[in-house]
Symmetry: C2
Subunit: 159 residues, 2 copies
DNA sequence: GAGAAATGCCTGCGTAGCGCAACTATTAAT
DNA sequence: ATTAATAGTTGCGCTACGCAGGCATTTCTC
């Protein structure tokens, strides 16, 4: 077995642990903030978008149905983290904007977590960081393709 | 701003997308298998352990309460994916073993997904793969520390 | 070695997120 | 002008989850 094969053999279980850790981490952050994991995921995604986002887009981003997305926005609005606003251009649509308070509450938690995270990366060279950045971007794209394929195969079951 | 700072500045939002993608991916796999995300997460963790695991250990691994872990094992057992067995050494304990059928069902899905994943890594050098392996191991450890800290801070709220 | 404390798992109950389907309001198509 | 499509909301049923209490078993303490 080549060195490369040995590395790949190790990477497979480790990446599964890695995935599991992320799920648990997301849950821990949610518990810490007294929120549901879905709400944390949603706010995370919202702050990555530029500008307000429609409820339908939130349903896409989170993978929820439109009804559940409405309830999700209800919860976030009730918690004072986002604000609803009718779109004047298309009065069917509702724009959801993240409020500064949400950024504060998230920022507070992520400052300390981000500091630890940055400390880990401090050990790495610029070339390694550049590789990591490229790898993450590729993996995000791969995830999207795989999610689409999984969903596509599901719908093929019921023609 | 140095090149290094620029890389770090890019890595932060990308890693957040990365995290979000993983959550969605987990959900997609669960939907595809007709299971709940928690159940998928549990089976993923179980297959990473060597040998049968107690219900209490499952509660630890998944972050659930003991009651919820019992229900989780109930579902997996009912689905024919795991088997319960009393521990003869300590008859309070229940050992949960993953059945071959679970490995088959998971293997089927993960073979194709793993192939795409391996294809992405094929572009990388051995040194890059070695770095990735090391990075993932460090990140898993970091997650554990951060999860413990988040949980610890929570418990400090109510002394 | 007997009673107390701790451990491991299970069960009843209330809460709440989610999908589904039906409904309203607005815009686009014919 | 009528019909169809789109965006969002709401009622309903299901089920995972936490919590608290309970039972069986083991370990501690005297």
């Amino acid at each position: 077995m080549t060195t490369r094969d040995a590395l790949m053999a190790q990477l497979w279980p480790v990446s599964r642990r890695y995935l599991a850790s992320y799920v648990l981490f997301n849950q821990a952050v949610a518990d810490h903030l007294g929120m549901h994991p879905t709400d944390v995921q949603c706010l995370n995604l919202l702050t990555l978008e530029d500008g307000p986002v429609t409820t339908g887009r939130i349903a896409e981003l989170t993978g929820l149905t439109s009804g559940s997305a409405t309830r999700l926005v209800d919860r976030l609005e009730k918690a004072g983290l986002v604000a609803r606003q009718r779109d004047d251009a298309d009065r069917r649509r509702v724009l959801v904007a993240v409020l500064p308070e949400a950024l504060e509450r998230f920022g507070e938690v992520w400052r300390s977590l981000g500091a630890d995270w940055a400390a880990v990366l401090d050990e790495d060279s610029e070339a390694e960081l550049a590789f990591l950045l490229r790898h993450m971007n590729r993996t995000v794209e791969l995830s999207h393709r795989q999610i689409a394929r999984l969903a596509g195969e599901d719908s093929q079951r019921l023609p």
